[in-house]
Amino acid sequence: MKNEEKKPTAAELPAGGIVEAGTAAQFKTGPWRSIKPVWSKEKCKACMICWIYCPDASIQVADGKVTGIDYDHCKGCGICSKECKFGAITMEAEKK
């Protein structure tokens, strides 16, 4: 968000902290990741287990197949790597 943005007042905000759905798409929530999943197209069988387990919807898919990782939102939790039965996702250290 830009600093000069005028923020809504208490009178303008919806009660109870309601925000529209899907706003995470507007923010990069993954930069604090210390390890990252690396996907191997060759080893992937498109079983979609990683897509089911990913808590941040960061497994990118198209036409029923995995196409990559959304590093803007992946937090590096490693669940995809842990669940993959084919060794198609390995965790590697983030290089700064």
Binding site: K7, P8, L13, G16, I18, V19, A21
Partner: protein, 401 residues
């Protein structure tokens, strides 16, 4: 003695718990999630029997703790359901974290709460320490003097909560009201149903066509605005509470406000208190009035939002008053009701009356007419300049030395 007021009403003999359960059956919320705890167990026990017997279509969720009870109630409310629960004391304390979340998310949950002492030492009897501790949680707090008020307050609370978008708790004094049978008037199911109406949430999570996010994190730049909203919602709730009371009087005939004034018009000495002790105080006032002592009572019904301006105005002309708290703040100074009453008076420029604060009745300790009479006797002396008001909290009927 309660007399029938509503043309279609029926006089019954019921305890506070029975009347609260009866109100819940008539309100017929979509979901009730609860866990038993003395002395509130009966409320949800009787209600769950209504569910089992098919007398109410509510989904009853028997959870494993009060933290879960409040969590499930919050979840049901967020999903779009009219949701209620009931608890007391330690169970209420276990809900603590979720109480603030219910208020922060602005969910119109209604809770039947029976006031009971908090451990330690463990004690199951009536005092108001539990809900007084949650006075800053953002919930509307409605206290009841007897089973009739408990019933009437429950019925009104649904509309108050849903209009104000604030969770609301209705309380009774443990055992003194929860378990003591009294004559009370119940109204026909269809009239209660008509009064509470149907719940139409503006937004709810099961409305999949209009998805939204609730309970998101807010940092330095947004949190404060939402907490301001909550505080403002309490201020705005005052009008809602009076509007609902007005509708209630028009429908059922019983009159309710922020507090009840008893012989206050010409009172020179007055007691301000909450709950069942008000009945004892009225009996003492009747005796004192026969002796020519102008005694009066303010019995607070709505403690949150606190009716500060109104109460200050109504206390402006007394010479001496005592606030009787059935909870102690352990703050080194004064108890909660006194603190709010005196702050309200000072802020409104009412500095004439001498004030006293008494803590009484902790853990169900007896408060009888002699204790109240002693308070009035002292107030009378203070009013006449024969005695000084204490600068600290005083205690009734406790062995100190």
């Amino acid at each position: 003695m309660v007399k029938p007021i509503f043309s279609k009403g029926k006089i019954v003999a019921k305890t506070g718990n029975e009347m609260m359960a009866e109100a819940m059956r008539q309100i017929a919320p979509d979901v009730v999630a609860a866990y038993p705890i003395t002395p509130a167990t009966e409320i949800v026990q009787i209600f769950s029997q209504f569910v089992a017997d098919g007398k109410v279509p509510t989904e009853f969720v028997a959870v494993e703790s009060e933290h879960s009870a409040m969590s499930a109630t919050i979840a049901a409310s967020v999903a779009g359901a009219r949701a209620m629960t009931g608890t007391s004391s330690q169970g209420f304390a276990l809900m603590w974290e979720m109480l603030y979340i219910a208020a922060g998310l602005r969910l119109p949950i209604v809770m039947a709460e029976v006031n009971r002492a908090l451990s330690a030492p463990i004690n199951i009897h009536g005092d108001q320490s539990d809900t007084m501790g949650a006075r800053d949680a953002g919930w509307i707090q409605i206290y009841s003097e007897d089973p009739q008020e408990a019933y009437d307050n429950m019925i009104q609370s649904v509309r108050i909560a849903e209009t104000a978008k604030l969770p609301t708790m209705v309380t009774t004094d443990g055992f003194i009201i929860s378990h003591c049978m009294a004559a009370a008037e119940v109204y026909p199911d269809e009239d209660v149903k008509e009064f509470v109406g149907t719940y139409k949430p503006e937004r709810y999570l099961l409305d999949y066509k209009r998805p939204f996010t609730l309970g998101s994190i807010e940092m330095q730049d947004y949190y404060f605005e939402h907490r301001y909203q909550l505080a403002q919602a309490q201020r705005d709730a005052k009008k809602i509470i009076l509007d609902v009371a007005k509708d209630f009087k028009n429908k059922f005939g019983r009159e309710y406000g922020f507090y009840e004034k008893y012989k206050m018009d010409d009172a020179e000495v007055a007691i301000v208190t909450i709950g069942s002790a008000a009945g004892t105080t009225k009996a003492v006032i009747n005796e004192l009035r026969e002796k020519g002592i102008k005694a009066g009572l303010i019995k607070i019904r709505i403690f949150r939002p606190f009716p500060a301006d109104e109460i200050a105005k109504d206390l402006a002309n007394v010479k001496a008053l005592a606030v009787l708290d059935r909870a102690d703040s352990c703050s080194g100074t004064f108890a909660p009701v006194y603190s709010d009453v005196v702050a309200a008076m000072y802020a409104n420029g009412v500095t004439g009356p001498k004030t006293e604060n008494y803590v009484y009745g902790l853990g169900g300790r007896e408060i009888d007419m002699t204790h109240i009479a002693d308070v009035f006797k002292h107030l009378d002396e203070v009013a006449k300049g024969k005695a000084q008001a204490s600068k600290t909290v005083e205690y009734i009927n406790v062995r100190i030395k």
